[in-house]
């Protein structure tokens, strides 16, 4: 045996799992075919946040007067905005390299393929530097992630020119004047928000009847209103039938309520569909069981193949970095037979648009559909002192409690800094707080978080500031 554990893929699922494995005394290697940190650090979560910050600051500049400030005519250089984003990614990428070294994790640069082995599959790596290396380990973890799924049938396939997936959208060679974004999930909305902030004419197409469809309905409604105020356009309940290159750039054929429509723009971003990166990895040879294109796993990441585990995006939704990290740690602790209490935490979701969206747990509709008797509270930022002072009065906090037990079962927010605030509710839910605990918790004043307290009070008719 060369290693106790070989992790394939160094995204936020894989590299975090590797660190935890090393902490638990496992001799660990990690295989990466591209860049340490995976999509998250290099082509996802982090560089998009850098772009969005540029967009946010630029947008604020147009409101300087409201703050009693003025400057010369604001301007941006898209090349420099992208450069900053790339530098941020680079910094974090080398940070992961340092972490691997610190934890004595061997980084093997190359593309892995699994073959039948004894206790666990053998890992055959086509090395980046040339040649191949076979390693054997007691356990192998697939943390190979996922990517956006092209839909060639309708022409929605990144072409590196006018039809973009996230990579092209993150490193534009020019600043488009107009854009069509297909899909209004977190990725689509973030790109739409960024390009709109820089003045692009953006239309977002959503097949479902409302945007950010995984969020609570009230949040969807408020989000659409806030985005439209910024000049974003939406087509909801719209089915894309054809994407094609045209004189202006791209043309997109739609079907909205049975009527055909045609949109034109310079570029189109595809932000629909996710597929696991499971090609050429040996799925068939091993007889690895899949479920809707993802690896089928048990509660601790175990697969049907002895010694093989899978975590993160390749093991199914939600496709979120923090879910991957959490699964990775949990799986490694099982492999190392580390006794952890296996506390169940709900998985929060964040969208870094302007305004931001954050949520955890059940939406009001989902709670009702599950037959739960609920109490719902709301509190708008427009009456929150800190929000007024900061000029960030858009949005609200909404809470969903189980009426019988008083357990917080869902929280939904839209507003300036809600992605930082949601953690308070996640912690409350993980610790199994009831309304009494939220009532009794002291919230610092003045903060936007006070709206969380008020929304909890409101669910029980005890709101103070409305």
């Amino acid at each position: 045996m060369d290693f106790d554990l070989v992790v394939i893929g160094s995204g936020p699922g894989g590299y975090v799992a590797a660190i935890r494995a090393s902490q638990l005394g496992l001799k660990t290697a990690i295989v990466e075919r591209e860049l340490l940190g995976g999509i998250c650090l290099n082509w996802g979560c982090i560089p998009t946040k850098a772009l969005l910050k540029s967009g946010e600051v630029y947008e604020k500049l147009s409101h300087l007067g409201e703050y009693g400030l003025s400057t010369e005519k604001p301007a941006f250089d898209i090349a420099k905005v992208v450069e900053r984003s790339r530098n941020v990614a680079k910094q974090l990428n080398s940070g992961v390299g340092y972490l691997m070294k610190k934890h004595k994790i061997e980084v093997i640069e190359g593309t892995a393929k699994l073959e039948k082995g004894s206790t666990a599959p053998k890992v055959v790596i086509a090395l980046k530097a040339g040649g191949s290396r076979t390693v054997e380990a007691k356990a192998v973890m697939l943390a190979v992630g996922a990517r956006s799924r092209p839909i060639p049938a309708i022409g929605l396939e990144a072409d590196g020119d006018r039809i973009w997936a996230y990579r092209e959208a993150m490193t534009p060679k020019f600043m488009p004047k107009s854009m069509i974004v297909v899909g209004s999930g977190a990725i689509g909305i973030e790109f739409a928000s960024f390009y709109r902030a820089l003045g692009c004419d953006v239309t977002v197409i959503e097949a479902l009847p409302r945007i950010v469809p995984v969020e609570d309905e009230e949040v969807s409604k408020a989000a659409q209103k806030a985005f439209e105020k910024r000049g974003l356009k939406f087509r909801v309940g719209a089915k894309v039938t054809k994407v094609a290159k045209s004189k202006t750039g791209v043309s997109v054929d739609l079907e909205v309520g049975g009527k055909a429509e045609k949109l034109e723009a310079e570029v189109c971003i595809s932000a629909v569909g996710i597929m696991a990166n499971l090609e050429n990895i040996g799925v068939e040879a091993l007889g690895l069981e899949l479920d809707r294109g993802h690896v089928k796993t048990g509660p601790h990441g175990e697969t049907n193949v002895a010694g093989l585990y899978a975590i993160g995006d390749c093991a199914g939704p939600p496709w979120l970095a923090h879910k991957a990290s959490h699964e990775g740690v949990h799986c490694v602790e099982r492999i190392a037979k580390f006794k952890s209490p296996n506390v169940q935490s709900p998985i929060p979701g964040c969208t870094y648009s302007q305004p931001q969206i954050a949520s955890v747990g059940l939406t009001e509709a989902a709670a009702k559909a599950a037959g739960r008797e609920i109490k719902v509270g709301r509190f708008p930022f427009k009456v929150n002192g800190k929000a007024i002072a900061a000029g960030d009065t858009e949005g609200f906090v909404k809470t969903v409690f189980d009426a019988k037990t008083g357990a917080l079962i869902g929280a939904h927010m839209i507003g300036a800094e809600v992605t930082e605030m949601i953690q308070g509710f996640v912690l409350a839910m993980t610790l199994e707080a009831t309304e009494e605990d939220l009532f009794a918790t002291v919230f610092a004043h003045p903060t936007m978080s006070e709206a969380m307290h008020e929304a909890s009070l409101d669910a029980f008719g005890r709101v103070l500031h409305i």
């Binding site: 209490p341 037990t405 707080a433 605990d437």
Partner: protein
Amino acid sequence: MSDILMPALSPTMEEGGLAKWHVKPGDKVEPGQVIAEIETDKATMEVEAVDDGEISEILVPEGTQGVKVNTPIARMKGDAGGPAPAPKAEAPKAETPKPQAPKAEAAPAPKPQAAAPQPTPPAAKTPSNTERVFASPLARRIAQQAGVDLKSLKGSGPHGRIIKRDVEGAPKGAAQLAAAAARTEPRQVLSLEQMGIAPGSYDLVPLDGMKRTIAKRMTESFRDVPHFPLTIDLEIDGLLAARAKVNAMLEKQGVKVSVNDFVLKAAANALKIVPEANASYTPDGIAMHHHADVAMAVAIDGGLITPIIRACETKTLSQIAKESKDLAERARTRKLKPEEYLGGTFTVSNLGMFGIKTFASIINEPQGAILSVGAGTQQPIVRGGKLDIGTVMSVTLTCDHRVVDGATGARFLQAFKALLEDPVTMLA
């Protein structure tokens, strides 16, 4: 001004009786002065004053039973303190229930002052078990709604915290069971009168601390410990001969070794041979005790007590004889210290002197087994196809099946039998 509280004289003491006051209001006391005698579950102990001062008020009269630990029993004026402010001193009295005490209380003490307002300690109304339970807020609420007793659950959360999933998996109504188990006395559904015994046809002897403890512990043990008896016969002619020799040798020292001392020694040695019988069940695992701390049941006026010969396997017969004599004497005068009767790992109960042939004792929790020793009597014995006369003694081992199963108990009894039938082997 300060209150003197009912002290906890042993780790398990929850309540006690106020046997006697040595002071009265107005008396000056100094540190170390004996002010009262407290009757605990097993012994009567003296309470000493901790501070200088003057007794301003006796809050719990002599003869009061079931006084919870930490209840104020008297009030003291400090040196600097003036007369006690009246409202404060009155306050507890205002809440004082009339002599019809709560059901957990003892019958009124058979003393004249029982007719006077009897300040019942406020603590007596609250559950005695105040041990903190770590549980999530949601787990607490669901438990309350479903009638699940958190104390009956084992937490699976961080550091054993009880979380939602632990409560949801718990059988409903467990609280009632647990509450019943937590009751301090055996259940009595009907009063004697309801059961046809006319009032006035009997005298009621109040339950003292010892009686209560025996009632509670024996009920719990008999009900909650899955127990079974194993009986074996021993021929003790060899033992009797050895005892005669030993005692002849020890005569000059004034030490007399009893049959029971041999039994204690043999039991201790057998426990070392079969350590699985020297064990206690706990929810976390079986506690394998390092030493055979053998308790011996001593009948005393008003009950019994089980003083302990510590590390009995390491002691000689004469040491055991001296120690057991001293412990038994002090047990009868209730002068044992708590550490002398708490924490045995095995008990020997001997009713041979009453001519009892066999009996099965109730396990003294948390011990894994108890040995009941019957009388040695001359009996016909078949030896090699011929009838002979021998002295035969029956012993019965009551086993906690969670710790000692049948074969383990049998192995212990075999070892015990071999040692006792041929006492010279105890030297090995």
